[in-house]
Symmetry: D2
Subunit: 402 residues, 4 copies
């Protein structure tokens, strides 16, 4: 089908942060076009956003229900192919459910839903449908994270023994939600973001990163949650001991009160024969440590990397790629999956790059063009639930349950 994939957006008005990120990520590779949106529950805001995005007035809707129903009536060559849901968490479930039930594919921001009950219901809906469902756990879409996963898989660093994963931020060091900061307001409000504060917003990214790179599952944990800022309703700091299904041990800590920290998601993984270190704020560097030989610096675009890393790299070495490319990677792979469904998989899928040359094309391959989906979403909900249960318990270990 020689046309761009068509996206409709739910949420993401001009005031929001993550909506623009999704739009930029979707636009970057020229595979997807935004054709309609229900950008706000306030129709005036939705309209203003649609205008700023140069959408025709008749494709800007006052509610996601209206959008889904009206788009459904449009002919195939015109209507949206999928919805991107970028609202606060409390809208996720109903919007995703309605989209799927009306036959639209879905890209959903994490965490999947407000509650575990909703999550389980959505899991059933997704698994019972034939829609393609992507969850934007974007940090695992960095090429060096892909490379790290492949190195672990290869056995090069041996059996994993220890994992340290950290996600310190400092932006909630004061009660900024009381000052009208919109990002802070909904992220600290249980009614809109769920039972987890920082643990849901960023802790789930750390959990997803650790499980993605290592291929291991957390089996039990011991959590200490804190609300450091008076007047806040949800955890702004978490320190957690981890145990994994192969016997590996670990530490996960996330925080929104580490004054002066920006967005420092990072991970260290140690195996019997070596280790891996990666830091989101300098995402194009991966360090491979070794007791006998010292460290090797692996860099985006340098040398012979895995097909997985190469397929998610757009520039030659030393031309830094960053945050927006992680969303682009998910959206592009989602588009590839959609095209494969449509039957033209071989058209444009990037499968590697050659030195300083451009990305080369080839067959779509889910082993290479992977993206997070419902399973990763359920792990994230299980993580939030287990951390809160552990925090309320006097027992040292709480089983990870979904």
């Amino acid at each position: 089908m020689s046309r761009k994939v068509r996206m409709g957006m739910i949420g993401g008005s001009l005031e929001a942060f993550i909506g623009a990120v999704h739009r930029r990520g979707a636009a970057l590779d020229g595979e997807i076009e935004l054709v309609c949106g229900a950008f706000s529950s306030d129709p005036a805001k939705s309209k203003a956003t649609g205008e700023a995005l140069y959408l025709p007035a008749n494709r800007v809707y006052g509610s996601y229900k209206e959008m889904i129903l009206k788009e459904k009536e449009l002919p195939e060559g015109e209507r949206m192919d999928f919805v991107s849901i970028v609202t606060p968490n409390h809208v996720h479930f109903e919007a995703a459910k309605f989209a799927i039930e009306n036959g639209f594919h879905v890209v959903l921001d994490k965490p999947i839903t407000l509650t575990m009950e909703e999550a389980k219901a959505l899991e059933k809906i997704v698994n019972g449908s034939d829609v393609i469902f992507a969850l934007t756990h974007n940090y695992t879409a960095y090429p060096m994270v892909k490379e790290a996963r492949q190195i672990v898989k290869s056995g090069k660093i041996g059996q994993i023994r220890k994992v340290i994963v950290e996600y310190p931020q400092g932006w909630l060091s004061q009660l900024v939600e009381a000052t009208g900061q919109k990002q802070a307001a909904w992220r600290t409000d249980p009614a809109r973001c769920g039972a987890g504060g920082g643990i849901g917003d960023i802790g789930t990214h750390a959990e997803n990163l650790a499980e993605y790179i290592t291929g291991l599952k957390i089996t039990e944990l011991c959590a200490d949650l804190t609300i450091f800022v008076d007047g806040r309703k949800l955890d702004d700091d978490a320190n957690i001991l981890l145990r994994f299904d192969n016997g590996a041990k670990g530490v996960l800590h996330n925080s929104q009160i580490c004054n002066g920290e920006e967005n420092d998601l990072n991970i260290r993984v140690y195996g019997e024969f070596g280790g891996l270190k990666w830091r989101q704020m300098e995402p194009n560097t991966l360090e491979l440590t070794n007791q006998e030989n010292g460290s090797h610096i692996i860099r985006t675009g340098v040398g012979n990397l895995s097909a997985q890393a190469a397929a998610h790299t757009r520039q030659p070495a030393g031309h830094p790629e960053g945050y927006v490319e992680t969303f682009a990677n998910i959206y592009r792979n989602f588009a590839y999956a959609l095209r494969a469904r449509w039957g033209n998989s071989s058209a444009t899928a990037a499968v590697g790059n050659l030195g300083n040359d451009h990305t080369i094309s080839g067959q779509y391959n889910p082993e290479i063009h992977d993206f997070p989906g419902i399973e990763e979403g359920m792990r994230g909900m299980g993580f939030i639930q287990t951390v809160i249960k552990s925090n309320n318990s006097d027992q040292k270990w709480t089983k990870f349950e979904i």
Copy 2:
């Protein structure tokens, strides 16, 4: 005019590197859409590229002349507004000239032309027309480079004394142009890239960066060019002493044979009261040095930055922005300038961001939304010419002349 700005591309077939960079940069902010292209002098390649980009067949042309003439005949609501020229250097002049003479605005990749003669001719054409002309000296579009320029302007580090600007790469350490590497082939061929090899390809970026941040002009220089790799026709290494118009001294060196270097453009500027250090490969950090107080780390998105830095930042602190955003910044500012010309300047121009919140909008302001143009292009051509003249001279100093 409530529609996207329409771009036609000259050059940038699927095999090229920089074409995709321009397309991604132009697409990122949703201000510009690619509507047509003459992607290659080979019509079959142009056609294949147009298809991969989901362009309608009738908007994919076999030559830039055909494109310009045919687009010109389309109604205003349909035809392209500007051309983006991303061919090797030897095509720049004729394509730009033809576009301007037919009333199209131009975005041109650097260096502007193959020769100084062409450059002077193009300068006259641009200055004699009313087109908007942008040159993609992209590295000065990083927010931390904008911030550095404002710090120097503010007088905070005093009178500038010394500038060290470096651009080491290693990708031409061997004779890769003999192995079919397309990027290497034209960049080492005088017929397609001009009299300067590395000095034109990357040395001009270093020169542009130094003059942009300091606000100074190079007045004389002393150059030592080398061809290290046997069989190569153009300089692959340059070491240059600089003198500036305020009495400051400096060093500029660029190289393509620094084996193991990726794309390490960097600069240090020292004034009487402090210094600035910036490195393209970690572009979101700017170091402000001071003898009495130690270093202060300035970061994209952190604290009170200049309006210039803020207007070129899309993400909250710690969400890394990189190379593609520099092209996006130029394209977006170019689009703003075009809209201002059209009379709707206040619509969407980004003028700052607020903490972790989204970029906020306001009035288009050329002091904030600046982009390189013909003047920067002429400085670059003067630099190439002066370096080559100095290299051929036994005299220590050669005056910088355009």
Copy 3:
């Protein structure tokens, strides 16, 4: 007393690691001279070591008891003033006890003793005597650690909320104690190093560093110890949640199986208004983070530092000081304390430096020339004991007890 302070050493034969460190640290400032030693329980080894150190044969002893008794009989102008005990842990108690009971001052390597019982007995002996007692928790003797402590004390970063302290090493990733590696052999043998493996060897340094910088005390903890290497008898990995007496939370993890890690003790401390980051492997840098202003880089020898930092700095800025200077700082301060006891405190005590100039002299001041003693030793033993107790418990929290 216009002569060097005289040191006798117990342990530290040529084969040992830490003995040479102590000798170098003691020698560095010219305040102390090694006059005698009982370097090994094997008299031949002791003799060989004494010869290599150019000691006269009659001052090299076959046992510490012999040394202490014989030295005691020498006239004041000749005999040693203090003993430095650098043996494996199981010898600490008896040697220290015998030295104190015979009137000699003591410098002791950490941890103070093999068991808590010995520690409590030694505490009584030290407190009941008038000897000067120093414990070489050397890592808190770095100038930037001193500076960090003063910054916390000053209130600049506000009430402390979170502490992350890490001590990863990788040298025991394999069963090297089975290969004749002497350092590994005694450090993994409960009979010679006590009930804690890594937790005693390096975990106590982490605990000491956290309490020293913050001025807080750990009140309860939750520990997960592991022996990853088959055949090992003691913990080679520890992950611990911490709670402090002011309500702060924290994480301490140490490991000897982080393959590829050298000796990466590091700490991050976050208060309400800012944070501090310090890393032993780059010890001359201290980062002061702040949400509004970004990071400030504090460097040894740069700008106006505290008297505590200045007094422990020997070189101008940028002339790196390292590990041996931390021992020198403890030995020098110990010598100052001894001279103060002797009545000539003002002679040589370093109290600061002036820019790039030499350290300047002044009055000995225990607030500035501090060193760890019996209290720090008891905290370390309490830490080992509490961690082991917690590890054996199903309860989440175990009270820190000595």
Copy 4:
């Protein structure tokens, strides 16, 4: 000869900076003892320094001539073995000459003399005598510099093509010599430091580092010297193009007005097959770059390093060694050479270390235990002379001459 080597010091009163560095370096390994000194041309200052150093009054002299003559009369078992000359440059020649003519070995601070005439005279004296002569070009005594030299020698990075060596400092950004700063006063005074300002004080270190690592000689250069601070008499900034005897090109720049720079001597060396990067302020790291494989991080004490690196390492990996150890390395090797002369070479020479274990002993080997001498001194003087000549010339290239 089973005793320490005996040192007498010329210069280095309590007010001086470099005297204490030499004393600490000499003391560190227990191979050398300070037995006498003529610490100042002011006898009262000399006396005060001797007292602070706990020297007997009769070994503290009012002038170096008195010291040399009186020590010469002492019996061999008592008198000093060598002099360490740490005065400002204008005293170097006469003191070294007098010492050598009276049969004493010499350690001399760089640059060797005030003028080229003195240097040539001293060269004759040294070469015509049988004294052992060491020059404290200390920066080439770092283990990672030794390693870099061995890597180049091994051919691993191929024929050297480009060398960038930098030595920025900022401490003379203002006219501090007018404020009573003693270090600044003599270093900016031609009568005491010679015709070169920064070029002699630090430029020679950069030259020595480049030639030591590469094994190449500078054959011609092009220099631009500046005095940026009004009222200063000697260069405080230098930018220099280099050409080497194998065809390699390079840049050397040093400065004392790079406001905010501490002591950032650093070098990058690129060969056909790889590169090396080293920075004095983080001296235990050496980066080996490679276009195909990415960077390898070589660290003091990690893995299989050269015998040269291992023999100059005292601590296990991750226990940072720094500036004082570079002086210790020269003094220790000088002591080894002296002992070898005395006939007991095999006694204690360090030849390597084993993992986390102590340095091991073996045969003295001048290929391993090298130190700079008169040849390096003459290269330094030639460098100063050639730079000044080039600076005064309109010709681009000036031949390097001694």
